[in-house]
C-alpha cells in the first residue's frame, strides 16, 4: 500500500470538508485581523519600533491560530467516530498522521496569507520573501507537533486546556528562531541565515520524532 496515496487522500478529504463547511478558515482569518488590530492600537508603533514589535505580534497571532487549527484536526474525527473507521483500514498510521498534518499546515498557510499582508498594512513592515520563508519553515515543525498533541488530547475531555499546555513549550524553539529570522528580515540586527538554519534543523528533528511517535499515538 502506497503511504503517499494514503496521506494525500487524508489531506484531500480534510481540505474538501473544510472547503464545504468553511468552519475554520473564515474564523481564523477574522481572529488574525482582530489580533493585529489590537496590537496596532495597543502599542505606540512608529516606523522606528515597528520591526521590533511586529514580529512579536505576528508570532502571537500565529501561535493562537495554530492552536485552534491543529486542535480541530483530531477532535472532529473523534466526535464523529471516523478516526476508528480510518484506523480499521490497513493504511499506515504514519501516513494518516502525515495527511492530517499536511491538511492542518495548509489551513495555517492560508491564515498566513492573510496575516503577512495585513501585518504590512497595519505596521508598515516589509513583506519580503525572507519573512515568508521564515514563517513557512516554522509552520512545518509547528504543524507536526501540533497535530501530534492534538491526536493525544483528542481522547480526553479537557483537550482545549491540555493542547496549549503540551504544545506551547515545544513550539518555543520555533518562536525564538522564527522571531530572530523575521526581525532580521525586517531590518533589525541579527543573523538571518543562522536562524533559518535552526528552523530547518528543528523541522527535521520534530517531523522525524512525530512520525515515529504517530503509530503509538494513533493506535490504541
Amino acid at each position: 500500500m502506497n503511504p503517499f496515496r494514503v496521506a494525500l487522500a487524508v489531506a484531500r478529504k480534510d481540505i474538501r470538508s473544510e472547503w464545504r463547511t468553511r468552519e475554520m478558515v473564515p474564523a481564523l482569518a477574522q481572529f488574525i485581523v482582530l489580533a493585529l488590530l489590537i496590537g496596532n492600537f495597543g502599542f505606540q508603533i512608529d516606523a522606528r519600533n515597528a520591526p521590533a514589535i511586529a514580529p512579536g505580534i505576528l508570532w502571537l497571532a500565529l501561535v493562537f491560530a495554530g492552536l485552534v487549527a491543529f486542535g480541530r484536526t483530531f477532535a472532529a474525527e473523534r466526535e464523529q467516530a471516523s478516526l476508528e473507521a480510518m484506523l480499521m483500514t490497513p493504511a499506515s498510521p504514519v501516513a494518516i498522521f502525515a495527511g492530517k498534518a499536511i491538511a492542518a499546515s495548509l489551513l495555517l498557510v492560508i491564515c498566513e496569507a492573510v496575516l503577512l499582508p495585513a501585518l504590512t498594512l497595519f505596521f508598515g513592515t516589509p513583506f519580503t520573501g525572507d519573512v515568508v520563508a521564515a514563517v513557512l519553515l516554522a509552520t512545518v515543525g509547528m504543524a507536526a507537533l501540533g497535530v501530534m498533541f492534538a491526536a493525544i488530547v483528542a481522547r480526553v475531555r479537557a483537550r482545549e486546556l491540555l493542547l496549549p499546555l503540551l504544545t506551547l513549550p515545544l513550539w518555543i524553539p520555533f518562536i525564538i528562531a522564527g522571531g530572530q529570522a523575521v526581525q532580521s528580515a525586517m531590518g533589525l540586527p541579527g543573523n538571518y541565515q543562522e536562524a533559518i538554519g535552526l528552523l530547518i534543523d528543528f523541522d527535521i528533528l520534530f517531523v522525524v520524532l512525530t512520525s515515529l511517535a504517530a503509530r503509538f499515538v494513533l493506535e490504541e
Partner: protein
C-alpha cells in the same frame, strides 16, 4: 475450517470487568449472532474481534493470523460496522466510499457496487450529513464491505435500518463469515444458525437456534 478462534478473551475497563474468559470458534462461512442485554459485553467482544480493541488477556486468531500482532495485515480480511456510523458529513456518499477505497487500497470501481448492494445508488451524490439515519447506516455497511472482507462484524446494524433490514442484511452477509450483535431475537434466528449469549461479560454458551423464552 475455522476462520476465527478466540480463547479466554477478557477485558477490563479500569476496575470494571466487561468481558470474562470468552471462548469461541467460528467456521468459514458461518453466521453467528451475539445476544445479551445492554452492558452484557456484546460491543466489547465485537470490538475485540474487529481488532479495534486489544483485550486485557486472551488469544485471538483470524484467518490463521495473530489478531494483535498482525492486525494491519488482518484488516484486509475484516469489515466492521460499529454503533456510530463514522462518516464524513461534508462529503457525499460516493466521496466517503472513495476515500475508504484509497485507504483500503481497492479500486474506486467498488464504490458503485457497494452503493448498489445497500440500495444507495440514487443518493450517491448527496452529502452524508443530509442522509437519514437509516441511509447513513446503510452507507456505513457499504464501507464495511468495500474491500470484500472474509469476516464481517456487525454491531446492531438493524438499529435504524427499517422494515427491510433482514433482506438487506441477508444480501450483505451472503458468502461471508459474520458475527452479528443484535437485540432482535427474531432477526438473529432468521439470519444466524448459531447464537452466543452473553450475560455480565460471560458467555452462557452457544446454541444452534435460540429458544425465545417469554
Amino acid at each position: 475450517m475455522s476462520l476465527l478462534v478466540g480463547n479466554g478473551l477478557t477485558h477490563w475497563f479500569g476496575r470494571e470487568l466487561a468481558l470474562e474468559g470468552v471462548d469461541l470458534v467460528i467456521d468459514t462461512g458461518e453466521h453467528m449472532a451475539v445476544l445479551g442485554d445492554n452492558g452484557a459485553g456484546k460491543t466489547t467482544l465485537l470490538r475485540i474481534l474487529a481488532t479495534v480493541l486489544r483485550p486485557t488477556s486472551g488469544q485471538l486468531e483470524i484467518a490463521g493470523l495473530n489478531a494483535f500482532r498482525e492486525r494491519r495485515r488482518l484488516r484486509h480480511h475484516v469489515g466492521y460496522v460499529a454503533h456510530a456510523t463514522g462518516l464524513y458529513p461534508a462529503l457525499t456518499a460516493a466521496e466517503n466510499l472513495e476515500f475508504f477505497c484509497d485507504l483500503q487500497d481497492v479500486s474506486r470501481t467498488r464504490v458503485e457496487e457497494a452503493l448498489d448492494a445497500v440500495g444507495l445508488t440514487r443518493v450517491a451524490r448527496r452529502r452524508a450529513g443530509e442522509l437519514s439515519r437509516g441511509m447513513q447506516q446503510r452507507l456505513s455497511i457499504a464501507r464495511a464491505i468495500l474491500h470484500e472482507p472474509r469476516l464481517l462484524i456487525l454491531d446492531e446494524p438493524d438499529a435504524s435500518l427499517g422494515d427491510d433490514a433482514a433482506e438487506l442484511l441477508t444480501q450483505v452477509m451472503k458468502d461471508k463469515t459474520v458475527v452479528l450483535a443484535t437485540h432482535d431475537h427474531a432477526l438473529a434466528n432468521r439470519l444466524c444458525p448459531r447464537t452466543l449469549v452473553l450475560r455480565h461479560g460471560r458467555s452462557h454458551g452457544t446454541a444452534t437456534r435460540l429458544r425465545v423464552v417469554r
